[in-house]
Structures are given as C-alpha cells and as structure tokens.
Symmetry: C2
Subunit: 415 residues, 2 copies
C-alpha cells in the first residue's frame, strides 16, 4: 500500500460544491489502494477576507496576531473536507498543523518548518483513515501558532511527504500542470510532462509562479517526486523530479517572460575594488531586491554598471543610489522602465552547445535588440525593449520547438 500526499489550493475548495468534488478525487485515490494524506489551503478568498477585516481594525497588526487570525482559514477547510469525505462513506480525520507536530521557528508570518512528528498521522493512517492536514501553519516549541508565508501549503505538503516517506506528493491546482510558457502570452504553450527541480527553481524565480521555490527546494533536498495536476480534470500533470538521463533529450524546458522589472544604469563608476560591493550593499540595506547585474569594464578608469529592480521599487532604488552617489563614486544615474526580460531554462543546455547563439539569432532575425544578457548553467536571460518582450518570447518558444504541435512527449513517466 503506497502513501500519497495530496495538496489542494484555495481555488479547489472555494465552495461547498468544490469541496465535495475534491472529496471524490481523494476517495478515488483511496479506493485505488493508497493511503492518503491531504493538505488543504483556506477556501478561495477567505484569507483575503480576514486580512481586510484585520485592516479595518489595525493597519499595522502584529504578525503573531495575524498568524492567529489566518490559521483559522485552513482549519475551516480541513473540517469541511473531512465532513465531505464522511458523506461519501469513508473514514477521515482532520488535524491542524500544531496537532500533527509541525514545529517551526519563531518568525511569525514566514516561519520555517524545523521538525515534523508524524506519529499522530501514522496512527490515523493505520486505523484506515484518510488524514486531512491544515496547510500553511505550524507552531513553535513554545506553542505559538505560526504561518509559513507564501506557498506555505505547498511546503506543508512536500515536507509531510518527506516526513512520511510518501511515494510522491501531488499538488492540485486550477491548471493542467507546468507550461513551457505563460499561455496568456504564448497561446501555443504546452504542458511540460517532466522537469527537474533545478529547472523549476529557475522558472519560478523567472516568473512562472507555479509553485513557490521553498517547496521545490525541500523536494530537491529529499528527492521527493512532486506532481503538479489539475484538480478539475483527469489529465496527467507535470512531474518535478531529479535529473535523469532521458530528460537530457529535452534541451529547453520553458520560456519565461517578466515585465515587472526596470533597469538602472550607473555611469562612470570608479573602477576600483569594492565599489560594486558598496553599491549593492547600500541597496540591500534599503531592502531593495536586485535581479540581474551587468558590469562591463571599458578601457578608461571608470566603468558602467546596469542592474534591474522591480518596477514598484524603482523610485526608492533611484533615491538610494542618487543620495549616495558621491560616497559610492557614481557619476550619472539613468533608468528605463520600458524593458522585458525573456529567459529560457533547461538542464539540456548544459550538454548542448549553441543554445545561446540560437536564442540571440532568433532575436536578431526579428530585429529585437538585446540590452542585457545574463546566464547560468541551465538558464539564459536577455533584457529587451518592453514592447518587444512578447514577440521575443513567442519567437524563442517556437525556435526551441516548444509549441504543442511541435513537441512530442519524448519522455514517458509511469504514474
């Protein structure tokens, strides 16, 4: 008898009808001969409603009390889901995060799981019960209720799967799986059948937003296979797993487009050791996230540095840099909001040469100028003019054969 951990997000349990549908899927998995542990998020807009309510009372609530408040959302879901399973004639029992010994550190609103004591879950499973666990929450050793921050329910699911030595973890959502690109931008984007943890980590940070990187990192660390599936359809989802030989056939797994960044260029930066460090330390001190950084030394005694920040932090970043220009040894400062970042990701590119040149050629053929380039072992990102971003993503997507009609499922994985 295999143990499977399933996680259902807020949109999958948004109302009574949907909860009953999810219960049917869970029971099907049980009937197929598996032990099932289910992690569930708060219903639809419930978390937002609670935040709105809190905001009416205190614009700046303490995080401890926000955790106390928000943890109720998942508790409502687990009780209702257990009732729905009972209605179908199956045994089920719900537990809060604290009840199943999910111990976290003390950082309210963004706590990290430190330990899980799955004894209570094991006992319920042995008694033949389906176990429903509240996602997103835990408690400190002192018994304080904490929440895990963005993507917290996914994290609960993957961590529980690891702690329980599950066969795999299934993350149910309202899309069919992970796509080669955002289907709203590239209608031809297709579902990826199999992908590595590393590729998803790059895709997520590049704006794919399918799963939070924290969960993927845990999956990677403990080699827990993660399926991303559609809770409303019976289609095979995307399997996130460790690298294997067969996967290297796929050179590029996906294309990501991000249009929420802006570029800042510092001209005539003094070319001596430690200057760049000082610039980015100053930005970090102001809590500004920096994404790409490009420095290109010219022949003079000064250099130009360009970097990107989120658009909503551009003004703050510009102020910080300008206020400290003298101290930092920076000459002129310029910025550009009209940019887009296009990236390709794929573990295959490590062993296939020429990916970068193919990408740049496609852009050149379409008269799209490249403003910045940044690469990692499994990723190439370019910054182009903002109004050229979608065109660039589409052309690159096609050039790497990612379109639905172009691709054939080269890798078959048995679920």
């Amino acid at each position: 008898m295999s143990l499977i951990v399933q996680k259902y997000g807020g949109s999958s349990v948004a109302n009574a009808e949907k909860i009953l549908r999810v219960a049917q899927r869970i029971v099907r998995t049980r009937k197929a001969g598996n032990k099932v542990v289910v992690v569930v998020s708060a219903m639809g807009d419930m978390t937002d409603d609670l935040i709105t309510l809190a905001d009416k009372i205190n614009k700046n609530p303490k995080e401890r009390e926000m955790d106390m408040l928000l943890a109720t959302g998942e508790q409502v879901s687990i009780a209702l889901l257990a009732m729905a399973i009972h209605k179908l004639g199956y045994e089920a029992v719900s537990f809060t995060g604290p009840q199943v010994g999910i111990i976290t550190d003390t950082f309210h609103s963004k706590a990290h799981i430190q330990d899980i004591s799955p004894g209570r879950i094991r006992k319920a499973l042995s008694a033949g019960k389906i176990v429903i666990v509240a996602g997103f929450q835990g408690q400190t050793l002192e018994g304080e209720i904490t929440t895990l921050g963005r993507g917290g329910s996914d994290l609960t699911a993957v961590a529980l799967a690891v702690a329980l030595k599950a066969r795999h973890c299934e993350i149910y959502t309202d899309v069919d799986g992970i796509y080669t690109a955002d289907p709203r931008v590239i209608p031809d984007a297709g579902k990826i059948d199999i992908v590595t943890y590393d590729e998803i980590l790059e895709l997520a940070s590049l704006g794919a937003k399918v799963m939070h990187s924290r969960s993927i990192e845990v999956g990677k660390k403990f080699n827990m296979p993660i399926w991303v599936c559609n809770s409303c359809k019976d289609v095979k989802g995307t399997l996130i797993t460790k690298e294997n030989k067969a996967m290297e056939e796929v050179v590029v797994s996906g294309v990501a487009l991000a249009d929420d960044e802006a570029k800042i260029t510092l001209f005539r930066v003094a070319d001596r050791p430690g200057v760049a460090a000082k610039v980015f330390q100053t930005l970090a001190d102001a809590n500004i996230n920096v994404d790409m950084i490009i420095q290109n030394k010219t022949k003079t005694h000064s250099t130009d540095i360009s970097f990107t920040v989120f658009k909503n932090e551009l003004q703050k970043a510009l102020k910080v840099v300008k206020d400290n220009a003298k101290k930092l040894g920076v000459g002129e400062v310029a910025s550009d909001e009209n940019i887009a970042k296009v990236s390709v990701v794929g573990i295959g590119m490590r062993s296939h040469s020429g990916i970068a040149s193919r990408m740049f050629s496609v852009l050149a053929e379409n008269r799209i100028n490249i403003e910045m380039i940044s690469t990692s072992e499994i990723k190439i990102s370019v910054v182009v003019a903002g109004d050229k971003g979608k065109l660039a993503a589409r052309k690159i997507h096609k050039a790497f054969g990612l379109g639905k009609k172009q691709r054939r499922s080269k890798v078959r994985v048995k679920r």
Copy 2:
C-alpha cells in the same frame, strides 16, 4: 492590583467597529489599575454561517469535525480583539482554549471543563499584558479540539476567573443586566441590582435565558461573583453572588413566563408503587425532557398524572406514552398546547410567608384559572391558559412591587 475576567458575547464583537469599542472598555479597566483577562465569543453570525456551510456539505456531520470547524470562530475574535487593543497602545496577547490548557472531557460539542492550567496566562499577566482567551473551546488530554456547547463562553470566563482567583467575573451582553421579567412582555420590568446564584439558576431554567446555568453552577460552587453588564453602556449591571443578609429584604427577585411548554395528562394511572417511575423512565429513554410533574391521588385505586414537555417534543412524547400505555398501566391520555407557565423566584420567600397566597389571590382577582402548581424553596410556578400568561405575569410582577417606579434599590453593592 486586582484581576478581573471579562467576557464579551458575539453581538458585542459583531464587526470591526464594535471590536474597537470593546477594546476601549478593556483598556479602561486596565487603566483603572486592574489586571485583565478577556474571554470572547465568535463574531455575530459567524458560528451560524459556519453551520450553514457545513450543512451544505454534510447534513449529519461528525461532532469532532463540527468542533474543529466552530472553534475557528472564537480564534478569529481573539486575534482581532488583540489587534484592536494594540491599536490603542496597550500590550495584549491572544490565546486559544487549548493554548491556555483548558482541558475537557471527550464529549465533542458539549464537553465539560476538567482542568485549567493557567500558567501561560499568569506569565503574560506578569509581563503587563492584557490576555485575550477564546471562549467556548478546549482540548482533550489527547489533543482533540472540543467545544463546550451552549453558554460555553460564559463557562470559560467563570472557570478562568476561578482558576486565576479573580476578584470577579464580568459578563458583557447587549442588555443592562438581569431583569425582574422579560421587558418585551412586561415593559415596566426593571434591572435587578443583586441576586443569588440559586435565584438565577431558577430564573434561567424558567426561561430567563440570561446566562446558561452551567456557568452559574460553577460560580456558585467556587463563590465567584459574576456581574452581568451592558457592553455598550456605562451602567451598573446585575451582581450574581452568594446569599447575604441584606438581600433577604427583597422577597421576590423576578417573574418568568414560559410559553414553550405543553401539558400531557395521563388519566386513571394504576395507583401502585413504581408506576410513575416507569412512566418518566420511558420518557427519559426517548430523550424527552419533562419539566413540571403533578400527581394528585384521588380516593379511587387510580390517579391522574400531569406533566409538561417542550411543545416541539409534544408529539414524540404523546407517541411514547400511547405506545406504552398498556405496559405502563395508563388509561386515557390528553394533551394541551395552550398553556403558559408563570413563576416567581426569590430567596426572600423562604422567610416571608404568604407569597403563594398573594400570587394566587392576584390570579383570582384577575379571573385567571390555575391549572397546575409547583413549588420549590425559592420558586412558585403556576400553569395557566396560554392566552392568560402575559396578563398573569404582568399582574404578579406589579403585585410584588417589581416595577421600575415601585422599586427602590434596597441593596447597594460596591463594585
């Protein structure tokens, strides 16, 4: 520094505005130099909303899961109330029932408190914090979340007051205190200043519905003074306390009217030992609550027995009695739904003779026929025709000088 436990019901915290108002009252009590522990119920209709939601999923939910669901209501309230107090610049911390060691038995949906370990509350109080505790909930020794049933938050408050050796417990509601009668029936009804646990126990069971009798019983057992006050006004409420000399001046404390009962009469019941016991055991086995019981032996070898049940259980009760008539030795069975029960309650009547005759005279003067009479040491109840109930209550209320203009506060109690 005195410790005061305050309890606010659902209508007092029904929205953000009301929560902020409650926070101000709490802070006032703190500023006056008291340590404050606050017990709070779920917001307004939240519990009903959750029940409706559960009903859409499963008409017959397990009580364990209902407890899991409903316990969230109070958890939302404590977090929001703590945030409201923080906004006023005071330190506060919220705790769920399980967090403050409220240990109950395992009877889900109607659990009894077995133990309270107030260490965590004491620590927070010592740190100068206002402590907010979720009412209505606890956990079993095995860590299962339970709820305490009707009046559960009052019970939490009184039990915490006892465990913490508070000076007194304040129950805030949307009325000024406990009245000499239901003001909807008798507009002249006035607030009672001081009343004994025993009187309230009689008044509650007679339909006064101010506080659930379980909380009063705990208050009585541990001699914890309980104030019932209006959360929206600054008026002195009603003090529920043990008997003292001064209180005996007040002969009758209040008049209660109940119109939700029906009368069943069993004619020609065999007059031999054990018959009555069998009749009421049969009803108890069918889970039917019986209130008044009157038996009046006549000269023959049979007797008539009358008793009252709640109207909504009348048909069930009739069926049980008729189905078992032969076995029970019962002749004819009759019932009457058109009845009303009027009761007067007062510890003073123990030492003042003639209360019963005065009550019966008032009824006679007003041509109201008495169908049943039942008395206890501090209570006299009569059953009259249903359409005469309000008139009877009004006339008796007046006859005992309970009207606002009639009474003067004979007893002054320092708060």
